[in-house]
Subunit: 172 residues, 2 copies
């Protein structure tokens, strides 16, 4: 953020970034990121799963870039969010094997805050996540298969239907 | 991390921090944070909820401090995690009102990655979260009540039983 604070008496991060967005005073790097988002039809987030979640640096991108006024606004949330007509896809690698996740933890549980709480909140539709389980612990051949499967999926991504981003998809 | 990489051919963040921990080569700030964790009986994480989650900077603390060898190890996870005999408590403020969360989103859903995926994974027991809903949108009087309730809770915290950190607590 560049320039004066909107309210220097009581600092409120959400209000300050919202005001800065409206006045065109957001930091240049944020404006550039927002431009990329604006122009994109599909947002692919590729990352290693850290602690059931995005790595901090990617969470920081969400915290900084998806500013009120740009991504959502008062009552313009979820299906009414400001980033409608866009698709998103969370593509990530895990440390644990698929078996580990299916025995104790349904991997869908941890997708709720990211897919529903962020993307759906901003009106962005969500495609099925793409998950490569434990690439560091599988054979080179298996890793090549993973890459081939991802390449294959990318070819027909535009034909996919978004998931129904409701509690049922995550918890039933 | 200070000193040489364990494997400079194929960089693996998890392996490098684990090796650095074993060799005593973690960055000084991390060692200090780990010392605090080691000495604590109770970890209270106080933060504003950003995007259904911790702010990035707190997630970064988790990513950097809770290193393999220190917080967990191969098959030393969940009830067998390395930080047993400790309690944790997630205390946070929200932007949205309690009604908003109870209509559309059960707030417990978003606690799964933090409480189960991080604390429980490391063997840390979890107390009921402490949530102040939308403090910026309520009256000064209501805010004072929130603080008083927190003060009150802190007095008897040691008598509380941890939650049963299983899918039932979160999703039933």
């Amino acid at each position: 953020m560049a320039g004066h604070l909107h309210n220097s008496e009581a600092f409120n991060y959400g209000v300050e970034t919202w005001e800065a967005y409206k006045r065109g005073c957001l930091s240049k790097d944020l404006v550039e990121e927002q431009k990329k988002v604006q122009e994109a039809d599909l947002l692919i987030f590729q990352f290693p799963l850290f602690w059931f979640n995005m790595p901090a640096i990617l969470k920081g991108w969400m915290d900084r870039v998806l500013v009120r006024g740009f991504a959502y606004d008062l009552s313009k949330v979820y299906d009414g969010g400001l980033l409608q007509d866009k698709l998103s896809l969370f593509s990530f690698t895990t440390g644990g094997s698929k078996e580990k996740y299916s025995i104790r933890d349904d991997i869908r549980y941890l997708l709720w805050p990211m897919q529903h709480g962020i993307m759906h909140f901003c009106g962005v539709k969500v495609l099925e996540p793409h998950i490569c389980y434990a690439p560091e612990n599988v054979s080179e051949e298996k890793r090549k298969e993973m890459l081939a499967a991802w390449t294959q999926r990318l070819k027909t991504l535009w034909k996919e239907e978004p998931i129904n981003c409701s509690p049922e998809w995550y918890f039933k």
